[in-house]
Subunit: 341 residues, 2 copies
């Protein structure tokens, strides 16, 4: 079985964006605020949006299952207040839940949180609970910068975030550390902000003792870990300067990297540098880079090809494709076991 | 000849830091502000600080020449106003000039600029002119984020920066794009902010047509280009999505990467992915990562070992070690030619 741990619902029917635009337009004018109940998409529209896009490519590429969360760039936690984020997150999470019900063999949901800059992350707990208990979500996406490129929240090692971690530990779910749209003109969203956030989050963990407080907390750093594997020697050296244990002991029981790296040399480096138990297959398809690579004739984000061609043995590939995901996402494993998979 | 294009005076005598601390303490209280003339270090102190540190390691590693600029993390452009930065830059640049006079065969200076958040970069021109004309500087360090992790300046593609570029083109000098200390607790200075800035700067160039306006402008992206070579497929794909030419045509006449990547797999990736004409030898020694790698028994920042072991031929190594630097830094080439080197 091949599990893609990083997919977003980037192809949701237009009605979603329309509702969101109405919501944004009504900020500061409560009377115009659309109700959640005014958002309606029927199952056929959802089916079509998935079958023609993600599911078609999954079938072409031999991907069995995707952990599926709301579109990352649309989370836009910087827009409006907690109320705005809360309604928006509820709608988006419900939609991914519906995808998972319509395609139970192919999509398992992960939740976005109703984060809002300056608001206590504990306010996200009710939505998290609902997504896990009612919707069967197996993970959350945690945005380390709800300001959208201003980086006004404390580091992930700060107690600020502990309410989320306590709930994650209780439910035994991991978080993918994933920012949203950058509203800082310095940072291109998918070309800088995403990768920077990955590197930043990793270094926040490295410089702290977060995992002493939460020995079972698990973070998945997307986009191949940003700059981290490429600079693994730098990070080993920095840990040494900071008097931390070896990274294998300090972080690698808790931090995992996905394979969203869109060329062969990148995946070769990732699989050479990072222990195989810490690498999880993912493509973020359909996402930031949708084109066909003229150098290969295949889609940039067809990461399975790179993993297949990497110099690792079949047992390592099986871990990357399936076993690691089942270990890092125990609720996914339980759901698969319940189906005899 | 082996040229290291990325060295900072991180070992300056204590008097430098003492003067700076007095300056910082006096901000907002003009009467207490120390004069530049109160800063005094004699040549012997400078000699010792270099001979025992950078020069010793250069000799051990077989590095002939280092392009040497003020300590990056001490630039701290976010501190004080333009006046504060201006006095500080003048002192630091004079010190690197003195190093280059004391060790003319081993150090060639590059200038820091008296940048200050919200201040027109044109104000940096007099210091730049002085450094090139009076001190023989062959390059500048340009900080894309003088706010120190708040990222309040426009992208490097903005006309805001054009006065600097016009002078760079006139003098035919490149800029290393190098941030300074992060005062944003989210960003560890050397473990996140530096790498993020490298990625950010590259993407700012990619998303723009800056080099149409300045076809001969040259940027050196330090720290191996941040996340860029590891994600080269992503950047090729993003250029495609943005309707830009192939990166070779769009950026690689103007953008270069140094080899400050502190492990073998990173240098292997860099030299596999980035055309050899765009890779410049560097170590940033003595810098962020000073320890010895227990996996190799050598210093993390002994990047020559990685380049030596990379699967590239002798001609490629000669480009990385010398020829590219002489092409990208023509004033260095001229200075070497004048000495018959």
């Amino acid at each position: 079985m091949i599990i893609d741990v990083h997919g977003h619902y980037t192809t949701a029917p237009k009605a979603l964006e329309t509702w969101r635009n109405r919501q944004i337009a009504a900020i500061g004018n409560r009377a115009d605020m659309p109700r959640a109940s005014e958002f309606r998409i029927d199952d056929d529209e959802i089916r079509e949006s998935i079958e023609r896009n993600q599911l078609r490519s999954m079938r072409e590429r031999g991907i069995d299952l995707t952990i599926f969360s709301p579109r990352a760039s649309f989370m836009a936690h910087h827009i409006g207040d907690f109320e705005v984020s809360s309604t928006w997150a509820a709608i988006c999470n419900e939609l991914c839940h519906r995808v998972s019900r319509l395609f139970p063999d192919h999509f398992v949901p992960a939740a976005m949180l109703p984060q809002s800059p300056g608001v206590d992350p504990a306010t996200c707990i009710p939505e998290l609970v609902r997504c896990v208990e009612a919707y069967g979500n197996v993970a959350i996406n945690l945005n380390p910068d709800p300001s959208g490129g201003r980086w006004t929240s404390p580091p992930l090692s700060d107690r600020h975030w502990y309410p989320i971690y306590e709930k994650m530990v209780e439910y035994d779910i991991p978080a993918m550390i994933h920012v949203s749209t950058s509203c800082n003109p310095c940072f291109h969203t998918t070309g800088a902000h995403y990768l920077n956030a990955d590197t930043t989050a990793f270094m926040q963990c490295l410089a702290s003792d977060l995992f002493k407080d939460f020995p079972t907390l698990r973070f998945v750093i997307p986009h191949g870990g940003g700059a981290v594997p490429y600079h693994w020697g730098r990070f080993r050296g920095l840990a040494q300067e900071l008097g931390k244990p070896l990274l294998a002991d300090h972080l690698l029981r808790n931090v995992f990297f996905d394979t969203c790296v869109y060329h062969q040399p990148g995946i070769d480096l990732l699989t050479r540098v990072i222990p195989v138990d810490n690498v999880l297959f993912a493509s973020e398809m359909i996402g930031a880079v949708r084109g066909i690579d003229p150098e290969t004739g295949y889609h940039y984000d067809d990461t399975r090809r790179y993993v297949e061609a990497a110099r690792i043995d079949a047992a390592a590939k099986q871990k990357i494709y399936e076993a690691n995901a089942r270990r890092v996402y125990p609720r996914l494993d339980a759901a698969l076991n319940a189906k005899g998979q």
